[in-house]
Symmetry: C2
Subunit: 159 residues, 2 copies
């Protein structure tokens, strides 16, 4: 099946925010992102892995310019939900490989991750679907990561 | 900015697999997904949140029919990487809301999560990008979740 890579996007002007130890029950993700969205903030990436012991962490990325709006919203959500803590890390970047048939291509995620590994880029967050492979990396690594991806994926796509 | 929702996709015939406690260093995601991809397995969703103490968990979904191929590959990766454990949960489903401008729409993720909350669907994993909002839920919840999303999103999009 044809894998079509439409493009590689990246943005160094983002920050990571996470709410740690939220209750794992319906309505929690809704509360957080309705509050954030209600302030007109665009959420660029959301990652939530499996809950443990009835608690989970919810991690997301927003544009650097939105941080001052989001932090008080997140602190309010933390208090309302009884979450243990929130985490804020501005020194990050996101990169995305967008295509069609990514999930039906057995190899694309492995290829993207191999290229990043060969460029000595540590992958901090991963969020994929059938259309997009999105990674969060250190801000200082993203340009090197994107150059490596352009080179490798171009070679594989042919002239 | 116009939010265009292209569709709602779902698949009840998936399983969740996770490698727990992998080392947080370049090459680990590459090792796992090159091995899985190398067996021709399509990875439907990958979620990885932040590492702690030099370790991380890597969670992904594959089609039910691919589980027998993937489990030995994952066990081999677990041993190679020195990961603490792997987790396998077949009783899950994935649903995706696909559109344009999702990340530039401040509200779409909150809306999707609100609709799921109102349908009393617990959201187990979340993976989003600018184009897709993907959630993993209990298999027994997915039909109700998808019906609720179709109803709610149709109303918001107008006639
Ligand atoms: C943690 C959060 O995602 C919760 N499970 C919810 O459904 O909202
Ligand atoms: C855990 C895994 O994603 C690792 N950080 C890597 O870069 O491969």
């Amino acid at each position: 099946e044809q894998v079509v890579i439409r493009g590689i996007a990246h943005d160094p002007d983002v920050a990571k925010i996470a709410l740690l130890g939220v209750p794992d029950r319906p309505g929690v993700a809704s509360e957080i992102f309705q509050a954030v969205g209600g302030r007109g903030v665009n959420v660029r990436m959301i990652v939530q892995a499996s809950a443990e012991g009835g608690k989970n962490d919810v991690t997301f990325a927003v544009g650097t310019h939105d941080v001052k709006i989001v932090l008080p919203v997140v602190e309010a959500a933390r208090a309302t939900l009884g979450a243990r803590a929130f985490l804020y890390d501005p020194d990050v970047a996101i990169l995305s490989v967008v295509g069609e048939g990514l999930a039906t291509s057995a190899g694309t995620a492995g290829t993207v991750f191999r290229v990043l590994a060969e460029a000595d880029v540590n992958i901090e967050l991963i969020s994929t679907s059938s259309i997009t492979i999105t990674c969060m990396v250190r801000q200082s690594d993203v340009e090197r990561a994107v150059r490596a991806l352009h080179q490798a994926l171009q070679l594989e796509q042919g002239p």
